[in-house]
């Protein structure tokens, strides 16, 4: 069970720095300002406005940026 505190921390897309080539395409498509080019890679900030549009993952040619979905099946 997640505590209220944990629930408030925004879950963000995930970056694999080893695969990122710093092309910056993910930064140009992001609407929420979470992605910031930093040297040859991308830093991901925890922001509240990321709506999980997954555009950053869509445009990343190297597979470095990932927006995984949790698969949840409520008990019936």
């Amino acid at each position: 069970m997640l505590s209220k505190e944990m629930n408030r921390l925004p879950i963000m897309p995930v970056i694999d720095h080893a695969r990122c080539d710093g092309c910056g395409l993910c930064v140009t498509v992001c609407k929420c300002g979470a992605l910031v080019l930093s040297g040859n890679t991308v830093a991901i900030l925890e922001v509240d406005d990321c709506g999980w549009c997954t555009d950053c993952e869509l445009v990343c040619a190297t597979g470095a940026l990932q927006c995984p979905f949790e698969i949840v099946a409520p008990e019936v």
Binding site: V29, W52, V59, V72, A73
Partner: protein, 223 residues
């Protein structure tokens, strides 16, 4: 915007062409900056310009009569679009929209490009390789959309991964689901939307919540 031969040498059609053979080309090109969400070309438009992405990124897609969108390709810097209309037909078979905040597009009219191609075999060879790659991609998409029950496969993947593991809920990206279903990410995106429209799942930010398990079972051929 000043276009140089250096800029052009980064474009897929001109890769490997000696710089001095590109000398007269920049003046034949135009460029324009688009903001995120702006349409660059629309399906059905008469459009005889070959477009290239300089910076940013472009989404190529088709829209069904019910307004559903199928992404065909993501076009990244150096790559082209509207090739099909330029080399035959003149009418754009898809729409293109800027995804990047500042997407700079270069274009050249076919009447300017064709005489250049006639004099340079390397550009023709590049064009053939690009067109053949595009044809391969479109055939794969036709196969996925018409012969494979991708939505059924996606339903099965969701059901198989709906049981939490020791570390909590299982997490899958659309690329991973695509690899598991033997299809492209663009097709998985559409399948998830179809499942959401039918009420079988809901997409809640980073969660896919299963709403109608028996419907998914039926789609997946599990009962």
């Amino acid at each position: 915007m000043n276009i140089t031969t250096e800029n052009l040498s980064q474009l897929s059609y001109f890769v490997g062409v000696e710089n001095d053979r590109l000398a007269g080309l920049p003046s034949l090109f135009n460029s324009k900056s688009f903001i995120k969400g702006q349409t660059i070309v629309s399906e059905g438009d008469k459009q005889e310009n070959l477009h290239f992405v300089n910076t940013g990124v472009v989404k190529i897609y088709k829209t069904s009569s019910e307004g559903k969108e199928q992404i065909i390709k993501i076009v990244r810097p150096g790559e082209s679009f509207n090739d099909l209309a330029v080399f035959g037909g003149s009418f754009c078979p898809y729409s293109a929209q800027a995804l990047g905040n500042t997407t700079i597009i270069y274009w050249i009219h076919k009447n300017d490009l064709l005489p250049v191609m006639e004099k340079n075999w390397r550009i023709v060879r590049n064009a053939l390789e690009i067109l053949s790659e595009q044809a391969r991609l479109l055939l794969a998409l036709v196969e996925d959309l018409s012969f494979k029950n991708v939505t059924g496969r996606v339903a099965k993947i969701l059901l198989q991964n709906a049981t939490p593991g020791p570390e909590g809920y299982q997490r899958l990206t659309q690329y991973e689901m695509a690899a598991m279903a033997g299809t492209a990410r663009e097709v998985v995106g559409r399948s998830l939307k179809n499942l959401e429209d039918s009420g079988a799942i809901s997409l809640e930010r980073h969660r896919i919540v299963i709403k109608d398990r028996s419907y998914l079972d039926r789609l997946a051929g599990l009962n």
